[in-house]
């Protein structure tokens, strides 16, 4: 009997109080600041593509065309935040924004950045983004003299006009670099 009174009491209290739910689309319901929403790129991004390697969902793709294009597909993104955590320069960050995939507008379902590429002088294949090489130069300091591509690139950055034929350094992709080193060591004649 006492229980029935308790239940009736609860019913009366509930009837008198305002609804527990929020009338969401009509009333804003902002998420907390820590909410993991859709990721977005910023200007710090240097185009290294580390985010593509760590993404567990395969939502981030890197395409090398005229420019390097890094794209996040929101439909595949699981908002885990690995890209933001492992980005070396905080070039991608999770926002608190949401993304309604079902609601038309193709361009709202993805975001991308484009970065200038550095190409191999021999075959024209992309080496990596220019900003990425610059970041490497800064980090390596004097150690970068061990890599001819980085030396040449630093010369380019400094604007040192070295005649093309006289420079002992060339911008080469890893594959061409290997071929060059091997042929210098007489790989073709030996084997």
């Amino acid at each position: 009997m006492g229980l029935k009174i308790k239940e009736i009491g609860e019913a009366l209290r509930s009837a008198a109080s305002k609804p527990f739910t929020v009338r969401y689309p009509f009333v804003p319901s902002p998420p907390p600041e820590t909410f993991r929403g859709k990721p977005e790129f910023n200007d710090k991004c240097m185009g290294c593509g580390a985010c593509e390697m760590v993404c567990p969902a395969g939502a981030i793709t890197v395409e090398d065309g005229e420019l390097r294009r890094i794209q996040v597909e929101y439909g595949r993104c699981i908002r885990c935040g690995q890209c933001a955590r492992l980005c070396p320069v905080e070039g991608i960050k999770l926002t608190t924004g949401s993304c309604v995939i079902s609601k038309g507008e193709e361009e709202r379902t993805r975001t991308s950045v484009e970065r200038k590429l550095l190409r191999c002088e021999e075959c024209g294949a992309p080496i990596t983004a220019r900003e990425h090489l610059r970041w490497m130069l800064e980090r390596l300091g004097p150690l970068s003299f061990s890599n001819p591509t980085l030396v040449k690139f630093s010369q380019l950055l400094l604007g040192e006009a070295v005649p093309e034929t006289e420079s002992p350094f060339r911008l080469l992709c890893p594959r061409c670099r290997r071929m060059l080193v091997l042929s210098e060591h007489g790989w073709r004649t030996k084997y």
């Binding site: 229980l3 308790k6 993991r36 567990p56 699981i78 885990c80 935040g81």
Partner: protein
């Protein structure tokens, strides 16, 4: 033989089940269980991902236990690589795991209430589950799939300003759970729907190797948290509630008592939360084998990982708790009415959408009819004891 197939498909499940109930009139006389209907190949997918990426895959095995699977997995990898997890990370693991148990049990309590026609309980339980989910959103950034566990520790820290909010939610949950226990125990109709139904004796429970609240409701005192302490459970004190009657009521009460224990555990963990790092660095995972065990809301969860020195596992085997609990239904369902089948199925806490479609076959006429989940629930609510 009359046959009632329940199932087979629902894409939302980690263990999609197909039940064929053999009935004589209203009486269930036999049951046939088949699983494996939605094979997603998680174990094989995991072999193609790095150790850092796998927690995000395994937390999507189940939307409700989305902390316990990554927890098991990272424990297995830590076992192989002998990684020492920082103290603070171990305590945060306990807090997240217990808050997950609270929200899972509240969800289950509401569903159980709904199945027996006690919708007030559904509204009530889910109302108080909501603040717990908000806590998760505040602490980890998401209501489900918290992405909290990482090899070597946890990914997000608990900030000092979160603590009073957690304590406030715990206070409400504790108060309301106690009230709900009174409602279940004191309401004669609810009690009659649960008492003596779906009996699983201690011997049967041991024979079927059931785990979690299903085992504890049948008098088996097993709990990974107590028997093989992981995270910080060895340093905290808690009771393992055990009921011996083995019926649906026992399984309800076990979960309610566990809820109160979880509240206590979170309070203790917050009290003793040590300072320091939350994540240990690790370089590479050597070849070897490791096992991670954890007590999920539904029972013991096991992950086995074998590595061969590369940065992806060689083999990753997962045994989720419902897999262990399902066979016991073959003795829990027969000899009760069709109307009781639903709550008995629900009492082991499988993901209940498996009963989306039900076919009923009358043994005497051999006639077969298919029932949808709504119809089945309707039968349960109208014709129950």
């Amino acid at each position: 033989m009359p046959v009632i197939p329940i199932g087979p498909f629902h894409p939302a499940l980690k263990e999609p089940e197909f039940f064929k109930l053999y009935v004589k009139g209203e009486q269930v006389v036999g049951v046939d269980i088949r699983i494996g209907w939605v094979h997603r190949g998680i174990e094989k997918l995991s072999e193609g991902l790095t150790f850092e990426q796998i927690p995000f895959l395994v937390e999507r095995i189940c939307g409700i236990c989305s902390n316990v699977h990554p927890l098991c997995y990272v424990q297995a990898v830590e076992d192989i690589a002998q990684i020492e997890v920082p103290d603070r990370a171990r305590y945060i693991r306990v807090i997240i795991a217990e808050l997950e148990r609270i929200h899972s049990h509240l969800l289950w309590l509401g569903v159980a209430g709904h199945l027996i026609g006690f919708d007030t309980l559904l509204m009530w339980a889910w109302k108080y589950r909501e603040p717990v989910l908000d806590l998760f959103e505040l602490m980890t950034g998401n209501r489900q799939n918290y992405a909290m566990q990482a090899v070597g520790g946890v990914r997000y820290d608990i900030k000092p300003e979160h603590v009073p909010k957690i304590l406030e939610v715990l206070k409400t949950v504790e108060k309301e759970t106690k009230k709900a226990v009174g409602m279940v125990e004191g309401d004669p109709v609810t009690k009659k729907r649960l008492e003596g139904i779906g009996l699983l004796t201690t011997e049967q429970a041991r024979d079927f190797c059931v785990v979690g609240p299903t085992a504890r409701g049948s008098g088996l005192k097993i709990d990974v948290r107590r028997d093989d302490p992981y995270a910080a459970y060895g340093e905290l004190s808690f009771d393992v509630p055990v009921y011996t009657s083995g019926d649906n009521l026992a399984r309800v009460l076990v979960r309610m008592d566990e809820l109160l224990q979880s509240v206590e555990l979170v309070r203790q963990a917050l009290d003793g939360l040590p300072r320091g790092e939350i994540r240990a660095e690790f370089k590479e995972v050597p070849p070897g084998e490791g096992i991670g065990r954890a007590e999920a809301p539904r029972g013991e969860d096991i992950h086995y990982v074998k590595t061969d020195g590369r940065n992806t596992p060689f083999r990753h085997k997962i045994r989720a708790p419902t897999y262990a609990n399902l066979p016991a239904l073959s003795v829990m369902l027969p000899n009760y009415t069709l109307a009781d089948a639903v709550i008995t199925l629900g009492s082991i806490d499988p993901c209940f959408s498996c009963t989306e479609r039900v076919a009923v076959v009358d043994v005497r006429t051999g006639k077969k009819r298919h029932l949808s989940e709504e119809e089945l629930v309707e039968i349960s609510r109208k014709h129950g004891a």
